[in-house]
């Protein structure tokens, strides 16, 4: 994994168990990602929880048009929103699961995963059952 470059800087923390980086507004609301430009001065960066629950999900079975730049040939994937309790609901890829596994409300855990041969991106996966 360490050979892969993050798809963009500043999306997650550089630590053994990385966390997404959100931005806290003056009113306490957290957004993701931290915005670019002048809007960045309006938020305070904050590392987000690694665990949350599935808020919604869908499948992506056909290859999106550009600017999608995933590996060839296209591999269908899952995506959805994960609610990080008390923080924010983030849109994310979902890995290590199939559509049949998806249940709204199920526990999810953060991961940094390969995007293609050279880049990594963030995702959530269903939490391992003990």
């Amino acid at each position: 994994m360490s050979a892969l470059a993050p798809i963009a800087p500043g999306l997650w923390t550089d630590e053994a168990e990385p966390r997404l980086i959100g931005g806290r507004r003056a009113n306490g609301e957290i957004i993701f990602p931290v915005p670019d430009g002048d809007a960045a001065t309006q938020v305070e960066p904050v590392a987000l929880a690694r665990r949350g629950t599935l808020w919604s999900w869908t499948t992506q079975g056909f290859e999106p048009k550009e600017p999608y730049s995933g590996p060839q040939p296209f591999q269908p994937f899952l995506l959805g929103y994960v609610e990080l309790p008390g923080e924010v609901i983030v849109e994310t890829r979902i890995v290590d699961a199939t559509a049949a596994d998806m249940v709204i409300g199920m526990p999810m855990t953060f991961a940094v995963v390969p995007f293609d041969d050279t880049r990594s991106t963030y995702a959530f996966r269903p939490e391992q059952q003990p």
Partner: protein
Amino acid sequence: MNDDVYIIGAGIHPFGRTDGRSGRDQGVFAVQQALTDAGLEWSDVEFAYGGSAAAGSADIMVNELGLTSVPFINVANGCATGGSALTSARNAIAAGACDVALAIGFDKHPRGAFNAKPAEYGLPEWYGETGMMLTTQFFALKIQRYMALHGISRRTLGLVAEKAFRNGTLCDHAWRRSPVDLDTILNAPMVNDPLTKYMFCSPAEGAVALVLASGKKVRELGSDAVRIASVAFRTRPEGSFEVFAPSINVNGGGKPTQIASKAAFEMAGIGPEDVSVAQLQDTESGAEVMHMAENGFCADGDQEKWFAEGWSEIGGKLPINTDGGCLACGEPIGASGLRQVYENTVQLRGRGGDRQVPNDPKVGYSHVYGAPGLSAVAILER
């Protein structure tokens, strides 16, 4: 101030694909039809508003329509382009600036899904690169959660599309004119779970023009007029869940449709129970289901019974999307919102032919929704 503003002419270029005719030429076609319907000449139009998302500026139409020095304002407001043109034309007459105004929307899109550029929506490139910036995903994610929370079945999503294609067979401006049965809809290739190919509308072509007039002008002409009881256009409030959202507020929030709907009902002084026919944004099957509740026509979850009982069929208690909606007509972005108003005008004038809503409908309600979270509602009264 002119308190009352009316639609006195309505024109449409058939939706779908018309090879060899530009989007703007389809717009000119619609304007000429609307003027003929109103019994007016182009030189009678005192103010014009219009636009497209992908087919160029509207004001160039004066080359074909006539160089009358008419003030012509180009509108570029995404999915609300037509609704914004209508709002502006109505307000120009209400303000007393003119007695006859035109609203025109047209478009022509290439085949396949819309592809959006992140920078144009203030979003980072990685959001598009990783394949999360698709409008179809948003609708799937929204209805997926809605189904889980409110007990809506996949079968109901299929019934929405089946109704759209059935209504489209009765409508001469629709693109899809053949019925599609429920099993075919449900078993079609999945676009984004739970929505199959037949549950989504497609980018298309078409144009709609409406001629608006003051009460004074209507009396002078003796027009077959429909009154614009209200128009309301709103962008998203804090905490709403919209297209292209990398994150959502955990505390939830309002919806632009609910806000626009409430404002339109208040301005018209009526409620959902007074509406005789409705055209609701049906970008996909789930959108029609959710917009029934967001516009106040039913409680969340009641749509399951509505479709089981056929209450939104042309002969039902509230016919919805009588021309087949976006599902059967396709979505030329600049024209789509005006098509809904056109259809209500047709219905209230009793000119719907095979798809005419029975018992002289008196109130028509239209609702358009689009990226990045805006809604426009218009209520017409006979």
